[in-house]
Every structure is written in structure tokens, then in C-alpha cells.
């Protein structure tokens, strides 16, 4: 009762990265709240799920298994989550802010008449005093998210309604399995009883999902290019440097929008959040939405023609110059000086 529930997104038997990130965060929140961590897995063949989630400290795993539940469709998953929440009364429910989570969570929130905050980038526990009614609320979930195009950070609370619901952006929380863990309890949900045929009013007739090709989150070095790189051809220089240094190529949204590279490489508020050892920003101005995804890099080098580009204010080194000139020199001197 009154635990913390995480909806686990499952793709081909694999729990999504974002769900594992959420479980990591939820574990520490549950610890602070002195409650248990629960997860729900909904899908078709779920035998492999317990082994994937128990290392993250899940105390109770609810399993809803039925061939009709994969791939994801809204109403059947929402029906199960609603029933489970009504039955178990968690105080907090968390979803990934993905195509699935952002489709499902509002449907659930509306049915339960609970408050929902979208796209959180931080979650904390804290109190709140409401002057108007002289009431102190203890241990609320602070749901922190960028707002107004990323120019401000808003802290949202749901003082009265339970559960407190939030979707959380992928890649902003760190995923950390426990070295030492014990397997939690598995509880099977009565799917057939909880679903009716009328839940299946949306039928998937075709699906093309690409496997994730790159995972820049895990790269120790990122060579990121912006609009200033100028073209898809020039981006090749960045790939050359990244390969030489054992890193990956990242990008700003302007570079992705211009077609220089793929969306998977976008860093920032609407891309991924990265914390590499070294981030080399090439022809990136460093707007707030981009910085939000890379400011925690251990070292930042900016290569920019403009001495006043905002990115330079958070860089350790700034090379004032042309990307096309600087990168070949970096490659040359790296080859010369490394053994």
C-alpha cells in the first residue's frame, strides 16, 4: 500500500532503458519515503523481465501477460494500470516520457482524476506549506521540468490527489543496477478478467520500428556538431575525429533539422542528456535547450567562429576559429602526439 509504482516499457522482451533509469531513481525515492518499489510489466512474453528489473531493487513486480498486449495499444494497457492503481493505491506512479508513456499516462491520469506532470527532468521529495488553507503537506513528489521552451524550470506538486503521476524524460536519470540485490516478489495479474473485448478497438496493421543504432549516452567522448558545421559532408570530419578518439558524434537540433545527421544523435532538452568525459562542441551556439543536455560533461571544448557564443561561457577551452580548419589540425596533432 502507498508504494511507488513504475510502469516498465517493454520492447521485444527487453525493458526499455528509460524504465531502468526510472527504477534507479524510484528506488532512491522509495528509500526516502520508506516505502516499497513496485513495477508493472505488461506485454506478451515476459519470462525474462524479472531478471532484468530485480537488480534495480524492485520489491514487487506485477506481471500482466497476454498475447494481445503486445505491441502496445492504449486502452488495454490503461485499463490494467488503472485497475492496478485502484487496487494497490500507490502514492506515486512514474512513466517514461516516450511515445508510449506520453500516450498512456494522460489516459490513466484522466481516469483516476490525478495530477500528471509531463517530461520531468528531476524528481525530489519535499514538503509544502499552503498558506491559503494553513496546511502543511509532508513528503510530496516535486516534479521538476523545463517550461516555456526550456527558459524556465518549474516545480510542480499534486498536494491533494493520489497517486502523484509524472512522465520522465529519457536519458536524464542515471541507470544503476545494484551490486547486491535480492529477487523481489512476482504477482501475476488476472488479465482476462481485467480486460474486455471492447478494449481492443484500435488495431495495429503495420509496424516499422528501427533498432537503436547508436547510443551516445554511453560514449566517454562526444564530438558534437551544430549548424555551424555547414553541411552533411563537413560532418564527416567530426566522425573522423570521434573515431580516432574512441568517441561518438552528437549534434544540436539545428544540425539535425538541417539534415546533417540523425535525430538519435541530438543532445539537449528534446534529445538525450549526456555526461561524457569530454564534449567537443563544433559550430554550436549553445542555446539553453542544448546546454541542458550537456552541461554536466567533465570537460567542454568549444570550436566557434564567434567569440561571444553562449557555449563559450561553459567551456573549459574555446578555440575561436572555423570548424573546417580546426578539426583537421586536431586530427593531425593527435596522430602526431599519441603513441
Amino acid at each position: 500500500m502507498n508504494n511507488l509504482l513504475v510502469y516498465c516499457e517493454i520492447d521485444e522482451g527487453q525493458v526499455a532503458e528509460v524504465s531502468l533509469e526510472l527504477l534507479t531513481k524510484a528506488r532512491s525515492l522509495a528509500h526516502q519515503l520508506n516505502c516499497q518499489l513496485e513495477a508493472v510489466a505488461i506485454g506478451a512474453s515476459l519470462d525474462g523481465i524479472p531478471d532484468q528489473v530485480f537488480p534495480y531493487g524492485v520489491d514487487i513486480l506485477y506481471v500482466a501477460e497476454d498475447p494481445r498486449l503486445s505491441p502496445y495499444t492504449t486502452i488495454p494497457h490503461a485499463s490494467i494500470v488503472n485497475r492496478l492503481i485502484r487496487q494497490e493505491q500507490p502514492q506515486i506512479g512514474l512513466f517514461g516520457a516516450t511515445s508510449i508513456g506520453r500516450d498512456l499516462a494522460p489516459r490513466v491520469a484522466s481516469a483516476l482524476r490525478s495530477g500528471l506532470t509531463a517530461d520531468c527532468t528531476q524528481l525530489e521529495i519535499g514538503d509544502h506549506y499552503e498558506k491559503r488553507i494553513d496546511t502543511e503537506y509532508k513528503n510530496l513528489l516535486y516534479q521538476i521540468r523545463p517550461a516555456f521552451g526550456g527558459n524556465i524550470l518549474a516545480t510542480i506538486i499534486n498536494p491533494e490527489t493520489r497517486p502523484q503521476l509524472a512522465t520522465v524524460r529519457e536519458g536524464v536519470m542515471k541507470k544503476e543496477p545494484l551490486a547486491d540485490f535480492r529477487a523481489g516478489e512476482i504477482r501475476k495479474l488476472p488479465v482476462v478478467e481485467w480486460l474486455s473485448d471492447t478494449d481492443f478497438v484500435v488495431e495495429i496493421i503495420d509496424r516499422h520500428i528501427e533498432q537503436r543504432k547508436v547510443n551516445i549516452k554511453a560514449a566517454p567522448i562526444i564530438v558534437a556538431g551544430g549548424y555551424g558545421v555547414g553541411s552533411k559532408e563537413n560532418f564527416q570530419l567530426l566522425y573522423d575525429l570521434a573515431e580516432l578518439l574512441g568517441g561518438e558524434v552528437g549534434a544540436s537540433r539545428a544540425a539535425v533539422d538541417a539534415g546533417f545527421t540523425d535525430h538519435e544523435r541530438q543532445v539537449g532538452q528534446t534529445g538525450v542528456t549526456v555526461r561524457p568525459k569530454l564534449y567537443i562542441a563544433c559550430g554550436i551556439s549553445g542555446q539553453i535547450q542544448h546546454r541542458a543536455g550537456m552541461e554536466e560533461s567533465s570537460m567542454i571544448i568549444s570550436i566557434n567562429k564567434d567569440p561571444n557564443a553562449p557555449i563559450n561561457h561553459i567551456a573549459d577551452y574555446t578555440i575561436i576559429g572555423d570548424v573546417g580548419e580546426v578539426i583537421p589540425k586536431m586530427i593531425r596533432y593527435y596522430k602526431k602526439n599519441s603513441k
Partner: protein, 291 residues
């Protein structure tokens, strides 16, 4: 199946895409007044989808529904110039302060007055909140299915619609039964421009409040041309429960708003010269940043 009623949900929003320095107040809050009010971009994608359906089924009716202050009538006129048949402005002080849950309740009550409808189309999300919650919540309140992130609305036949969805790593095609709510993604085609004839025709489309504040005798105009009336609906008109609206009907509260601040660093500035770059590369190798 030739005359579908299609309700388009649209919102007038401050243009948060180009927030200049003067748009931020010293306390870190946004000075909404400093931002131009625009038609929420993805709602225009939704309107275009409605217009394309009407191209196929010309007897269909497109009703634009928006909730907002009086000036939001602007986006209803804008929709009429592009092809919407009529518009409804849901406006009342009691709606102020509504979060997504209260907003979707209000919209769903207005939609109930527009029954029977076949489709509700909305933009995926509005740029002033980016929550993408209102569409799914309206669908839930009405007890109808939803299809989110539509890129293309295909065949409509036998009470069913085929929709192609844009997901983060691919596409999916679904068939869903009507009535149905669809949210439209920005990868869907952009909205067609204003039509010159329609611009002339609907230039004087006004709400009652707008007419009262005008010196011209629009009332007389509208008597002859009922299509120029933009309906205004209040809380009472849609029989909504006040307790489920505004601040009291909104479970989420804003506790705090902060400016985003980044830790400025003392940056070492280098030239693109051979000497400087070789120095930097050796420095990085030396401190093991690169191997």
C-alpha cells in the same frame, strides 16, 4: 459517411520558440505580454488533416473549438480563412488557472454539446506547455479511443479510420473505430494558406463580445449572414461543474519557477593556430582526457 462532423481543437499560445531577453522577468517568470500570440503550430497540422478529409468528403463540417480569452477568437477566424466552417470560443473567467485535467474536462463538456461527431483532431502538444496531455485526456473523458502522433489519416470507411503514426523510432499504422480522437504530429503536412475568397467572406466573423466592443454595427451584418457568428460558450452553456474547473479543479500546482542558470566557467581562449591546437591536444593527452 459523406458528412462527417470533425471537431478541431486548437489553442492560441505565446510564441515560446523565440524567447528574447525581454521576455524573462527579473524573478525568472515569463512575461507573456512580451511574446506574440500565435496559432499553436501542431494545431495547424491538425486543421490541415481535417481540411484534407473535407476535400475527400465535401459535405463534412469542420468545427473549430478553442478555449481561451476573448482574443483567441483570432485563431477561429484564421481557421475559417483556411477552410473551417464554424468556430466556438469556450471562454469564462472560471476556466482561468485550469491545468490539463481541468482543461480537458471543460473541452469534453463542450464537445458533448456538439454530438454526434465522427472525429476530434488536435495538435500533439502546445508549445507553451509541451505536455501532450489534453488530447488523450479529452478522449478518456468522452470514453472514446485515441490515436496519438498521427502523420497521415488514410482510408475512412465503414465507421473506421486508418491512421499512420509517427513514433520515436519508427512508424505504425492502425485502424480505429469512430468516434475517435486523433492528435497530429508536426511531421504531418503543413497547413494550407488562407484562401483569398474565404478571407473576404469571414473577415467580419466575430463573437458577441467583440461586436459589443466595436463601433460598427456588426449585429445587423450578422443578421443577414449567420455564418459570421462565432459562438461563445460559458461554463453554464456547457453545463460544467465549477469545482472541476480552474484552480480548484486542477490537481497540479506550480510550487516554484526558476530561471535556468548555468555555471559559467573561466574559459581558456585559444587561436586556431598550429601552436595552440598542438598545445591543447598534448594537454588533453597529458591529463588522460584522451588516450
Amino acid at each position: 459517411m459523406n458528412h462527417l462532423r470533425i471537431i478541431v481543437l486548437a489553442k492560441q499560445v505565446p510564441d515560446t520558440r523565440n524567447v528574447g531577453k525581454d521576455a524573462m522577468k527579473a524573478d525568472g517568470t515569463v512575461n507573456r505580454g512580451a511574446l506574440p500570440a500565435i496559432y499553436n503550430p501542431e494545431d495547424l497540422n491538425a486543421l490541415e488533416q481535417a481540411l484534407r478529409i473535407k476535400d475527400r468528403f465535401p459535405e463534412s463540417e469542420i468545427v473549430l473549438l478553442t478555449m481561451g480569452p476573448g482574443r483567441a477568437a483570432e485563431i477561429i477566424r484564421e481557421s475559417m480563412y483556411r477552410g473551417a466552417d464554424r468556430g466556438i470560443l469556450l471562454t469564462d473567467r472560471k476556466f482561468a488557472g485550469s491545468d490539463t485535467l481541468a482543461t480537458s474536462y471543460a473541452l469534453s463538456m463542450a464537445i458533448r454539446k456538439l454530438e454526434p461527431y465522427s472525429l476530434i483532431l488536435a495538435g500533439r502538444q502546445a508549445i507553451d506547455g509541451d505536455t501532450a496531455q489534453v488530447g488523450p485526456q479529452v478522449a478518456e473523458k468522452l470514453g472514446i479511443p485515441q490515436v496519438t502522433y498521427a502523420e497521415e489519416i488514410g482510408e475512412i470507411a465503414d465507421g473506421k479510420v486508418t491512421v499512420k503514426r509517427r513514433l520515436e523510432r519508427g512508424v505504425e499504422t492502425v485502424v480505429a473505430t469512430m468516434p475517435l480522437l486523433v492528435t497530429v504530429h508536426n511531421s504531418a503536412p503543413p497547413c494550407r494558406p488562407r484562401n483569398a475568397k474565404r478571407l473576404m467572406k469571414y473577415k467580419y466573423a466575430h463573437t458577441v463580445s467583440e461586436m459589443q466592443h466595436s463601433n460598427e454595427d456588426y449585429f445587423a451584418w450578422q443578421n443577414d449572414r449567420p455564418y459570421l457568428r462565432i459562438d461563445e460558450w460559458s461554463v453554464d452553456d456547457v453545463q460544467a461543474d465549477e469545482n472541476m474547473l480552474g484552480l480548484s479543479g486542477s490537481p497540479t500546482k506550480v510550487k516554484k519557477i526558476e530561471n535556468v542558470v548555468f555555471k559559467a566557467k573561466e574559459s581558456k581562449v585559444l587561436a586556431p593556430s598550429d601552436a595552440d591546437i598542438e598545445w591543447l591536444v598534448r594537454e588533453l593527452i597529458h591529463n588522460s582526457t584522451i588516450g
